[in-house]
Amino acid sequence: MDTRTLPTLPGIVTKLNSLADNEKSSIQEMARLVSSDQVLSARILRLANSPSYGFYRVATISNAMILLGVDVVKSLILSSSIFEIMEKSALGLWEHSLGAGVAANIIAKRLSLPDCEEIATAALLHDIGKVIVRLKLQDEYDVLLAKTAESGSTLHELEREMLGTDHSEVGGWLGKNWFLPEKLVVPITFHHNVAGAFCHQVKTAVVHFADVLIKASGFGFSGDPFVPALQPVAWNMLGMTEPLLAEIVEELEEKLVDTKNFSLEIQSTDETKT
């Protein structure tokens, strides 16, 4: 596949990368650069205020960079075009991704893990591969989706069988191409195979859990309705217990009310614009 035909990689990212590599540059400088693109800034701020992060009042790009970290803001800029496609043509997948971000944030906070924002971002991005596969192989993917309904195989297995790759591999590959940090690429690549993660296993385990929990709740639509099996390696790695899981499920269900509102608000603002 050729990355150049993919949804655009904003030129701002190249500049941001060189700024980030320079130790002398400040957050303010980077923020000023991003703020120069108003449409992009608005999109980033909207995501920074989404329930996936739980801050609610991030008013400026420099605020977002301080609260979420430069890496997270950079990832959101890179993926903003993918999210735009999701909002317009795959609303169920968009809601599934937002919900997974919320779930990952809850789990990471409950377990007092470092890098909550990175973990939430990895969960938000975990299915970007699906957008790419669908974009590139529209007809094949429609056949494949229809098949998941009748066959007993998971979407993931069918992708492997029919396409020779799967959405997690494609997503990880895209992340690498975008020079996203490994702490995001690894969880995206291995969210269906936690044992395969060679580093960042805890983050990968959280993203796997977030994906399973959000499918269990029935929020959004990721392509098929079926809950994948919770992997024991992820369960053990996080030291999960049933009472803790029950608390997480309850908190998630409550936050999903806000998440649904957030998604509806985005849809209505998009409608008034067009």
Binding site: G54, F55, Y56, R57, G152, T154, V212, L213, K215, A216, S217, G218, P225, F226, V227, P228, A229, L230, P232, W235, E242, L245, A246, V249, E250, E253, E254, V257, D258, N261
Partner: protein, 109 residues
């Protein structure tokens, strides 16, 4: 007595509803509660909560039925369907039981 509660967006909050959970600021969820559970909502309280940026609250009972709301029976059936491919897996099974209990608790009469 079975106790049930519903999470509703603030736009649907009405005077007379009773908070089923302590209300905290969304930006400071571990901080002190703004309103304690058991408090009855009034017109001015709802207005104040809205101005504070509260997006949703948990109230006692199940006062709001929206169009397209499903019955408990439907929800449990959908839950079975979603878990139909992993019904033999013990860990996923315990997740399903947790979800089931949550649904029953939030929808019970």
């Amino acid at each position: 007595m079975r106790f049930c509660m519903q999470r509703i967006p603030i736009s649907l909050a009405k005077p007379g509803m009773v908070l089923a959970k302590d209300l905290v600021r969304p930006e400071n969820p571990t901080g002190p509660a703004i309103c304690g559970k058991g408090m009855e909502l009034t017109e001015s309280l709802v207005e104040r909560l809205r101005n504070m940026g509260i997006q949703s609250i948990t109230v006692e009972g199940h006062p709001i039925w929206m169009e397209g709301d499903k019955t408990l029976e439907d929800l449990l059936q959908e839950l079975d369907h979603r878990f139909s491919r992993v019904s033999q897996d013990p860990l996923t099974r315990s997740l399903k039981d947790i979800c089931r209990k949550y649904l029953i608790n939030s929808m019970g009469e």
